[in-house]
Each structure stands twice: as C-alpha cells, then as structure tokens.
C-alpha cells in the first residue's frame, strides 16, 4: 500500500472550507497522482475554484489535511509551496516585460542571473514566444498572453501546476488549439496538472482523470470513460454529456445485474450498483446513442412514442421522442449509408436500450 502512496502528487484528506455558515468544500478526499492531468469539473459555484485556491494556499482550510508528495503543506503560505498557478485572466504583471514576467518566480527563488536568463529564454521558446521577450503583456493577443502565463508558471519548475479555467477567455478556435498544446506540454514536461473547468468537453478530451464537483462535494472521480459511461449519480449523468433519465423500480436483483421496470411497464436490465433492493425506486440513465429505434410494433410493454423533432447533425441525426408519460426522450442515430432508415416527425417508433446502455443511478 505504501508504494502506491509514493507516486501521489497531491493528497487531500477530509478537507472542509467554510465561510461563516456557508460550506464551500464538504469533506473532500482526493488523491492526485504524479504526472497526471487531473481536471476538476463542475458548474460555477460548485467549489472547484475554491479547491484549487486551497491547494495553491490562497485559502486556509477549516478542517482536514493537505499533503504534497507526502508532506503537510496546509499551514504554508503560497510562496512556500512548490506549486504554481495559471490564473483565469492570467494576471501578468503589466509593468514588466514578457521576459521579466517569466523570470519573476525564478528570481524570487534566488536562482542565479545567468540561469534565470537562460531558462526564461527556453521557456519562451517552448511556448513559441521567443521573439516577444521585450514586449509588454498588453501588446500581446489573448492567446499569446495565455502562453506567457503558462511559461511564467512553469519556469520555476513546480511540482504541481494549477490552471484556473485558463481557456475560458479565448475564442473557440484558439481554445481547441490550446487544448492540444496544453496536453502536449503536460506530457513533455511530466508536471502534474490540476485543471479547473466548467466545460465538460474540455475535461473529457484532455484529462487522465476527472473529479466532478457539485455543491462543494466531490461527486465522482474517474477516467473520462468511467465518468461518461458509469456515472454514479443523477448529477454526474446529467452534467456530463446528454442523457435521458427514467424513473424506475428495481424488480429483480442478480449477482452482478439487476432488472428495473420503467413506469410504462417495460423492463430494462442493467449493471447492479451498490446494494440494490428489490422494490426500491431508482433512476435509470440512458444516453441518446444508447437507444435503438425501430418502427412501432405491437409489443405492449415496449418503450415507444411519437417523433416530435428531427435535427440533422451531420454525422448523426437527433430525434426528440414524446413518450406516453409526456416526457421527451432524446435519441441519436449515426447517419451510415447502410442503415438508411429515416424517421420523420409524427412517426410512431419503438425504443429499446442497447445492451449495457442503461445505468442505474443511486439518486
């Protein structure tokens, strides 16, 4: 067990953060591994930025322990923690040149002048801004400022790099390009990245692991695949990607699987979550691509409805189906040449979850 602890970069144990009566972080237990691209994902106000600021040292925690490479850092001020931050609006020092900005951290650490100059140049070259050393930050575009902020934060060689929604101020195209660059930079340098975002697409494409947060609670931690395919609760299922949530009742519990009955009486098999009880109310999450659609049949207990809207998305077509209970169900079908079946508004269709597509949610 000890050996696995050794490659942890950051470890939080029972961390609470309270502002008066308001609890911003509720009992956070989290292990971030060395060399990992870890993302904290959640809606605004969920506590993800507070958690980042707690790791950086800008906020004192009310309870709990923070460890960096096994050492307690909870009582250290930010300047004593070998952790650097890329701020949301970069916070580049406007009265200094780009080079002086990048050199700042190394100078404060007391590195020699020659070393600082050498490393500043290398860092600026790494972010492809070698020719901009003498400029002021306000003479750079948003994307360039972003890269200066990255170079400045990485220059002192931190053990962990914290990134607070660094892409949110960029336009869409640049944001996509920076995702690739960030990921590459992380892999090249091997620095542990802790990335905060509210953009689930960003989180899914870049991260090794994701921690989904809501209301100050870490709802689920896992790889992008686990988070998307096996959400543990309704919030995670709803927040990551699109999904259809059905009310259901557990009718049969097996070893690894159980069967749930939807409100219209059709039964759906799914993987058993933690300790399911026969007769208990539950929710089922089925992704739009996890539903199979066919022409309506006479099978009485199948799930079905009327096509209400058809949206062509290029590679996919998305259908909104109104089911008898009045809810709308989203179904997405790939537009393949072989499968040339098309449905149009008003068609009666039957829906069937693909094998393993239904996910039992604890709430």
């Amino acid at each position: 067990m000890e050996s696995s602890k050794e490659n942890l970069a950051v470890e939080l144990q029972g961390v609470f953060k309270k502002y008066g009566d308001f609890v911003a972080l509720k009992k956070i237990d989290l292990e971030i591994k060395d060399n990992e691209f870890f993302t904290l994902l959640g809606p605004s106000g969920c506590g993800k930025t507070t958690l980042l600021r707690v790791i950086a040292g800008f906020e004192e925690i009310s309870e709990g322990t923070i460890l960096l490479k096994g050492e307690r850092i909870g009582d250290l001020p930010p300047n004593k923690r070998p952790i650097n931050t890329v701020f949301q609006h970069y916070a580049l020092f406007p009265h200094m040149t780009v080079e002086a900005n990048v050199a700042f951290g190394m100078k404060m650490l007391g590195m020699s002048k020659a070393e600082v100059a050498d490393r500043s140049r290398k860092m600026l070259e790494m972010v492809k801004l070698g020719d901009f050393a003498g400029r002021r930050p306000n003479q750079l575009s948003g994307g360039q400022q972003q890269r200066v902020a990255l170079a400045r934060a990485m220059a002192p060689g931190p053990q962990v790099l914290l990134l607070d929604e660094p892409l949110s101020a960029l336009d869409l195209k640049l944001r996509h390009a920076m995702r690739v660059e960030l990921k590459q930079l992380q892999m090249e340098t091997g620095i542990t990245f802790v990335f905060v975002t509210h953009d689930q697409e960003e989180a899914l494409t870049m991260s090794d692991r994701i921690g989904v947060m809501d209301h100050g609670i870490l709802q689920q931690v896992g790889t992008p695949h686990e988070i998307y395919e096996k959400p543990v609760n309704r919030f995670v299922a709803d927040f990551i990607g699109e999904t259809n949530i059905f009310d259901a009742t557990i009718s049969h519990v097996g070893d690894a699987n159980c069967v749930c009955v939807l409100r219209n009486g059709s039964s759906v098999g799914c993987e058993a979550g933690s300790n399911p009880q026969v007769g208990a109310k539950c929710h089922l999450s089925i992704r739009p691509e996890g539903l199979e659609m066919s022409r309506a049949n006479d099978e009485p207990r199948s799930l079905g409805g009327r096509v209400e809207q058809v949206v062509y998305l290029g590679t996919d077509t998305q259908y909104l189906i109104r089911i008898p209970s009045g809810e709308l169900v989203t179904v997405r079908c790939q537009n393949t040449i072989a499968d040339g079946v098309n449905y149009s508004t008003g068609d009666e269709v039957a829906l069937k979850p693909r094998d393993g597509a239904a996910r039992l949610l604890v709430d």
Binding site: P78, N79, H89, Y90, A91, P94, H95, N138, Q145, P156
Partner: protein
C-alpha cells in the same frame, strides 16, 4: 432628436452660463497676472510692461522675508506631502485590501472628514490642542498640522488607483515565491505608483497653498508664503505681491498639471483589458 436632447449644449443659456462662470473664476486671476507686469507703483493704473516687480520679489527690500517664507513653505510642503503620502498609502492598503471589518465605514469617514469640516474649525481646534499639550508654536506645529490635513488629499487618488488593481496580481506574485514584502515592492507598489505620485503632488500643493490653519498654528516670527503675503497686503497691496502671487499660481498650475498627467499615464492595471492583436 434623441441625440440632440442629450446634448447639454442645446440647453438654453448654456453658453452664457458657461461664460459667466469662467469669467468669475478666472478674470481676477488674469488681472493679477497681467498687472504683475505693470511698470507702475499703482496696482490699478497701467504704466507699461516691465519685470521690475519680479526683480523686486527676489532682490527688493522684502526679498529676505519672502525668501525665508518661501523656504518654509517649500520645506513644509515637501515634508508634509511625504509623511501624509506614506500614511495615506498604508491607510488605502488597509481599507482596500483589508477585507471587510466592522469599523470600515467609520474609518473611511475619519480619513475623509477633514475635507468636510470647515477649515476654520480645524484651525481653532488644532490651536487649542497644541496649547493644551504645551506644544510651542513654530515650524514644528505648522508641519504637524499640515501632515494631518494633507492625508485625505493624498488618500483619495491613491485609494482610487488601488481599487482598480486586481488582487490577483499580488496573489500571482506570492504564488511565484514572493514574500508579502516582495509582492508589495515588486508588484503592488509599481502598479500603485501613478496614484501615489498624484496623491503626493496634490498634498504638496494643498500644503503650499494653506493659509487659515497655518496662520492659526504658526506662532510669531515664522511665516509661510501665504501668511507673508497676507501680512504684506495688510499695509496695502503693492505690485510685488501681484508678481509673487503669479509665481505661486504658476507653481500650482505646474503641479496640478503633472499630477493630472501622471494619474492618467501608467499601464492600465485592469489585467486583461482588450489585448492588441499582433
């Protein structure tokens, strides 16, 4: 039409009202400045152009008196502006960066109260206070009084500047291994500099110009320029007073101009203001 109605120039009487205000404010100053070049003993009759009264200020009978007074005025203004700027900088950091504390509105009121209290009241109160504690009146009493009433003038531009500087700059500095002191010296202070310079110049000019409080607390045998001019005027206005007044006016205008440009200059501290594309 919508545009025109918002244009204040279209209000009836706009031009005449403006003209009236400008004349009332500046005509007396213009007259003083013009007549300081009057080559005549009278201050009301024009006797040709000359610099004789300027020479009289520097080399005439009263030159020694004026020189001492000028030295007192300038040295007190320098010391009072320096001290009040330091205090005002510390106060603004406490007020802006100190978070919320219960006495905050009261503290702000205390800092800016001297701007509201009639100066004569401050003058009398200060005099009574110095007498009560047995502080012998002279250079030191003027200096102490000036430091105190200069604080709000230095405080306002400094506080306004600091309010515009995002706290993330200091956080970024500390994140990059700067101690609190280093974060202040290398990041906050340079960003605050335009506000500090503006506050300093304003305090300097307020101290240089002050008459009422100075006159109350100065004691016998020591004069600043305003009290010296007042003393000289009591025996009738001689044209050399016009020359001296014009010189003081020029110094004031010079300082206010510098203060204006310095507070406008400097890098905008907003942080992520519209970046230029390259």
């Amino acid at each position: 039409m919508a545009l025109a109605s918002r244009n204040i120039r279209k209000y009836p009487g706009f031009f005449s009202m403006t003209l009236l205000c400008m004349v009332l404010l500046y005509a007396p100053l213009a007259v003083v400045a013009a007549y300081s070049f009057n080559d005549s003993l009278s201050i009301t009759r024009w006797g040709g152009f000359s610099f004789r009264w300027y020479l009289d200020v520097f080399f005439g009978l009263e030159a020694d008196k004026f020189r001492d007074a000028a030295w007192n005025s300038l040295s007190i203004a320098f010391l009072a502006a320096t001290a009040s700027t330091i205090i005002a900088t510390a106060a603004s950091i406490g007020m802006v960066r100190g978070g919320e504390f219960r006495a905050k509105p009261a503290s702000f009121a205390l800092i800016s109260l001297p701007l509201m209290v009639p100066e004569i009241v401050t003058a009398v109160a200060t005099l009574i206070f110095f007498s009560a504690i047995g502080f012998v009146r002279g250079y030191a009493t003027i200096l102490v009084a000036h430091i105190v009433f200069c604080i709000p003038f230095a405080y306002l531009p400094i506080e306004a500047r600091l309010r515009g500087i995002e706290g993330t700059f200091e956080e970024a500095a500390q994140d990059l291994y700067a101690s609190r002191g280093q974060a202040f010296r290398f990041v906050l202070l340079p960003l605050m500099a335009p506000g500090i310079v503006a506050g300093y110049l304003l305090a300097f000019i307020i101290s240089l110009d002050d008459f009422i409080i100075t006159n109350f607390v100065k004691g016998a045998g020591i004069e600043t320029l305003p009290t010296a001019i007042f003393g000289a005027v009591k025996q009738g206005i001689k044209p050399n007073i016009l020359a001296l007044s014009t010189l003081m006016l020029l110094i004031s205008i010079g300082f206010v101009t510098i203060s204006y440009f310095v507070s406008r200059k400097g890098v905008k501290p907003g942080g992520h203001g519209a970046p230029e594309t390259t």
